[in-house]
């Protein structure tokens, strides 16, 4: 069923009796050509592009809970392509371009809103670094714009410009950045993948791999064995756990990141603001809630909830940069488990086990990557060669000395 304005009117006039479920609920088949583990944004996008772009058949997505219950439905919904390094920027710009055409591609309203994102600048050194980054973005075909203090005052008059420690001196804006309704991304990809014949199997936990002589033959699940020629893993925060079942230790630690939403307000915040120096970022959802977040809790965690010291820290960041936020009440907050990598950049690669492929290490920036991650992972699964925008995301890059460390933090995952 295609969605359209005409369809909405027709259903409105006929009592909304004609809507059908957006995807089927099939039982697992004994064997698939390609099995994707993880029904988050990345797994579902991979299935969509495998079927639609790479014309693969006989595909399943295996999800232990319900689709969209992981990080894809827990993030703060920001999309952007404002990276510095060559290994990253072409990939994220490819992703942003896919976002721009996503709703037409999926025939699904994901509420992609290019309301712009702005990184605030507080010192000369920071200005130099951001201008350099802006130039790298432009060289890679993305948009970037340097704004001075007066220009920011015009767009965001309510920010705290004269703070003693972090006075606002300028900003790096990316006008094409913005926000997307996160659950709709999972649902839209699921619906499209399903319509191309992909089986989406929920409530089915992967409990092991069948590996014989270095070749992966399939997966053990809570609903029995499922054979597969190729298995792609995209389980985000559970990467360490899942790949451990295949005997792998990964360059990843799992950490919890929290998100916060205030009560609904009238429109007050036009775009996305990031206050990197104080570890705080904020946007306003279409329902009116201020959506904001900050740092990781900082220690390995599989608990999908955070602790109070970080709540305090995030709220202090908000008060420091946007004092009016103190008048809004916090409505809800939650946590998600991040697959933090050793250099802050992801992996999309084959493993040393034949037929087993890995996608992970997204840290807290994997939502914006969803379309490109799915596209390039599908490319790898279909062709056994990396997509041209994802050649740097190798699992062995620390061995070969090709780490992609945007912040220059080194191998300390909780600092990325």
């Amino acid at each position: 069923m295609r969605y359209s304005g005409f369809k909405v009117i027709k259903e409105a006039l006929s009592g909304h009796k004609g809507w059908k479920p957006a995807w089927r609920e099939p039982d697992p088949k004994p064997h698939y050509d390609i099995v994707i583990i993880g029904g988050g944004g990345h797994g579902l996008a991979t299935a969509h592009y495998l079927a639609k772009v790479y014309k693969q058949k006989n595909i399943a997505v295996i999800e232990k809970g319900w689709i969209g219950g992981g990080n894809v439905g827990r993030n703060t919904t920001i999309i952007r392509s404002n990276y510095l390094l060559d290994g990253n920027e072409p990939f994220y710009e490819f992703s942003l371009k896919l976002w721009e055409g996503l709703e037409q591609d999926l025939n699904y309203n994901a509420m992609v809103s290019q309301r712009g994102i702005m990184n605030l600048i507080h010192s000369d050194a920071q200005r130099d670094a951001f201008v350099r980054r802006g130039n790298a973005m432009i060289l890679n075909g993305a948009d970037a714009e340097y704004l001075n203090e007066a220009q920011i005052r015009k767009e965001y008059p309510f920010l705290k410009f004269d703070d003693q420690r972090f006075p606002i001196k300028g900003g790096l804006a990316q006008r094409r950045g913005g926000t997307v309704r996160h659950d709709a991304v999972a649902w839209g990809y699921a619906r499209s993948a399903d319509s191309h014949g992909v089986d989406i199997i929920q409530n089915c936990e992967v409990t092991g791999f069948k590996i014989e002589n270095g070749v992966c033959k399939g997966i053990e699940t809570s609903r029995g064995f499922i054979g597969a020629d190729k298995v792609g893993c995209a389980v985000a925060g559970n990467s360490g756990r899942l790949m451990g079942m295949a005997g792998m230790r990964l360059p990843i630690e799992s950490h919890v990141l929290q998100a916060f939403v205030s009560e609904g307000l009238k429109p007050v915040l036009p775009g996305v603001i990031t206050f990197g120096a104080g570890h705080f970022y904020v946007s306003q959802s279409d329902k009116g809630g201020l959506v904001f977040g900050g740092d990781l809790d900082g220690y390995n965690s599989y608990a999908q909830r955070g602790n109070l010291p970080v709540v305090e820290d995030v709220c202090e960041g908000g008060m420091a940069i946007m004092p009016m936020i103190g008048r809004a009440r916090l409505l809800r907050m939650w946590g998600g488990i991040m697959d933090m990598s050793m250099d802050g950049s992801p992996y999309i690669d084959k493993t040393h086990i034949e037929g087993l492929y890995f996608n992970g290490g997204w840290c807290y920036g994997g939502f914006k990557a969803t379309p490109a991650s799915g596209y390039t992972f599908a490319h790898l699964l279909a062709n056994d060669t990396p997509h041209e925008t994802a050649t740097a995301y190798r699992l062995d890059r620390y061995k070969t000395g090709h780490m992609i460390d945007e912040k220059g933090q080194g191998n300390q995952p909780n600092l990325h």
Binding site: N238, R249, E253, S254, Y299, N300, P309, Q412
Partner: protein, 95 residues
């Protein structure tokens, strides 16, 4: 989260800096034949279980000692706290 420091008693975890997987105590032998491989694994691969993990915490806002904390990563329940110094010594390291 409260960490029961072996010397100072119960302390707020916010006084500490986190370093992760306590295997970092076990620095490989720099004279070994497979030194590159071993240092790669040492520096970049991590145990990352959902369950019991032994991990390093540095008491930066306190006595600046390193601790090995055994904690469940699902519940944050701490079952054991040792001085990293004692752990290293028990593995035959001097000083």
């Amino acid at each position: 989260m409260i960490i029961n420091h072996p010397l100072l008693g119960p302390r707020d975890s916010a006084e500490f800096v986190y370093m992760g997987d306590a295997r970092l105590i076990e620095r490989p032998d720099p004279e070994s034949d497979t030194v590159a491989e071993q240092f790669h694994d040492y520096a970049y691969l991590r145990d990352n279980p959902a369950g019991t993990l032994r991990e390093l915490w540095f008491h930066e806002g306190g006595d600046r000692s390193w601790l090995v904390v055994t904690r469940d990563t699902r519940t944050h329940e701490i079952s054991k706290v040792e001085l990293a110094r004692d752990v290293a010594r028990s593995k035959g390291r001097s000083k």
